[in-house]
Symmetry: C2
Subunit: 340 residues, 2 copies
């Protein structure tokens, strides 16, 4: 088994502190962070705690220690989706995006051999988003992370297309991550918004971009969906059958078979199952599955890369693609500078 440098394209980071956003913007709904002892903190919205995190969520040094253990060469940093704040006033979401993007850029600049960054954008205001995307590029970020939808817009909306177009023009990568999960009001128990809602969100995002003709119109756009594309890979036959049986519903904006786009976009490898990962490679193609762990969150891979390491029947070539080459291609990196 050949040892290849491992790039983890799906990791989340927060600043250790940020301003009081309710005070800054004059209304509530934003996330605040409350530190306990040195290692732990509580995320809250309007004073209501909703998630405990540890210093691996904000400390670059702590993250690097973990990477040394797991063998991850390079983490791609993105914000935590609850920070997207697409519901906020555009100028405020832009301001918050700048705070988060400046932070990620600082961490990347501090440890350029260990981190790359993806920014966040005020997607509810496409023009502001496109401008912030340009600023992200100038900061040295590799692209952006966006949600699986933007409030009432799915990813086929013309407003969102403005941002995709800008990303394609600027050669910036787009990582699509679930947030604001459909059906969560119907799933009060068992963490089901994360287990059922998130995979449905990824499928919604992929379906919207296929049928909305986004991939068709922007063949050079580099997009990757979190969590192995969620439900989509298992339902690709259902999508194709829907397209075939009811073009009056499915083919109204794009008359190309959904299967044509397999191989044109990427998914991360986070499916927590060797059989599912093999199926994923078959569906998406071995150039379009990119290692991602969801570090440092509990639904991520506890030891990033362990699943790949536990699959000895993967060829060295495929292992190298998932662990490294596909990330280099998705992120648009200079292969020489990240050869490990």
């Amino acid at each position: 088994m050949v040892k290849v440098p491992r790039i983890d394209i799906h990791t989340h980071i927060l600043p250790e502190t940020w301003p009081d956003l309710k005070e800054r913007y004059g209304y509530g709904g934003f996330v605040s962070l409350h530190h306990g002892d040195g290692c732990n903190a509580t995320m809250a919205i309007d004073g209501k705690p909703f998630r405990e995190i540890s210093d691996n969520c904000w400390s670059p040094e702590r993250r690097i220690e973990d990477c040394e253990v797991s063998g991850v060469s390079l983490q791609v940093l993105s914000t935590v989706p609850v920070m997207f704040s697409y519901w906020a006033k555009p100028a405020d979401a832009l301001d918050l995006s700048k705070i988060l993007n400046d932070h990620i850029s600082e961490v990347v600049n501090q440890y350029p051999d260990r981190f790359l960054g993806l920014g966040t954008l005020p997607m509810q205001a496409p023009d502001l988003a496109a401008r912030e995307l340009e600023r992200c590029k100038s900061l040295g970020l590799a692209g952006v992370e966006i949600g699986t939808h933007v409030n009432d817009w799915n990813l086929n909306a013309p407003e969102v297309f403005t941002v995709f177009q800008a990303a394609a023009d600027m050669d910036q990568a787009v990582f699509v991550h679930p947030w604001d999960m459909m059906g969560q009001e119907r799933m009060p128990q068992y963490w089901l918004p994360w287990l059922v809602g998130m995979p449905a969100e990824a499928s919604l995002a992929i379906g919207s971009m296929i049928f909305g003709g986004v991939f068709e119109r922007l063949p050079d756009l580099r997009v990757c969906f979190a969590h192995g594309g969620g439900a989509f890979p298992m339902t690709v036959g259902r999508f194709a059958r829907g397209f075939e049986a009811r073009p009056d519903l499915c083919a109204v904006d794009n008359d190309v078979d959904p299967r044509s786009y397999l191989g044109k976009f990427s998914v991360d490898s986070l499916v927590h199952d060797a059989g599912a990962l093999k199926y994923l490679l078959n569906v998406m193609g071995e150039n379009r599955v990119v290692f991602g762990s969801d570090y440092p969150f509990p639904l991520g891979e506890e030891s990033p890369g362990h699943l790949l390491d536990s699959m000895p029947d993967l060829s060295d070539a495929v292992r190298r693609k998932i662990s490294h080459d596909n990330a280099v291609e998705f992120l648009g990196l200079d292969p020489l500078s990240h050869a490990g």
Copy 2:
């Protein structure tokens, strides 16, 4: 390739006519059927058309003709989920269930070599549902079809357990089918409630029954989920990881690993993709994938059984299981009487 009698466990049927339900119950929201020429009809709710159907949806003879062509030996009939009417007053849903169940029973009695039946129940009233289940059994039906949720109850609700318990006690099969899709308000385009929402519904149902301990408490209950279990098979690793990482959220009602229930429930084969079907067989086990076509609806298999026929590398043993043996087991049939 050996020829085995093919049992299609997932087909829908409606009576050719039924009473005016708004008039009968004194309020609206129910489905009515408006015949055009002899072969076509329009389904409507409160005068608003929502689906065109053909005589293969109500004519047993027309269905038998299609079966002769596709090679289906036996269709298992169930109602169309939009008829569930779980939102209606319990007595009215019971009355409607009786109309539908009597009709299915009549068709089965008319052509006992070609059809088996699954009833529908007023699930919003578990005691009435359990009594109607008993009546279904006495009518000779093999079990019932229920929704992936019942209004605000997921399938782990104690109310729903009453019905599952009754089904286990009466040795009746339960076929679980999506309806009232989560997120549909967010998916106005591209048939996405069918392509994204339905697979999420199946995953919601399976997750609720696993984490709610339904499979644990009723090991003899025979359950099958439509559409290959939707998103669940692709996300089984995610479910297991959730259970492992956050038992405080996932293991509150049942502390058994979700993977333990693989092999304990069935899914139909309707995934429209050879690779997905093979993956499904690997995940669920070759005894727990049951041929189903969704006949006569457009998102079903156009030529029921074609996918299986197009997979020459399936062994005869597995083909026989999917096409016949697994249905015999799921439905609790006397193997001798349906040997084909």
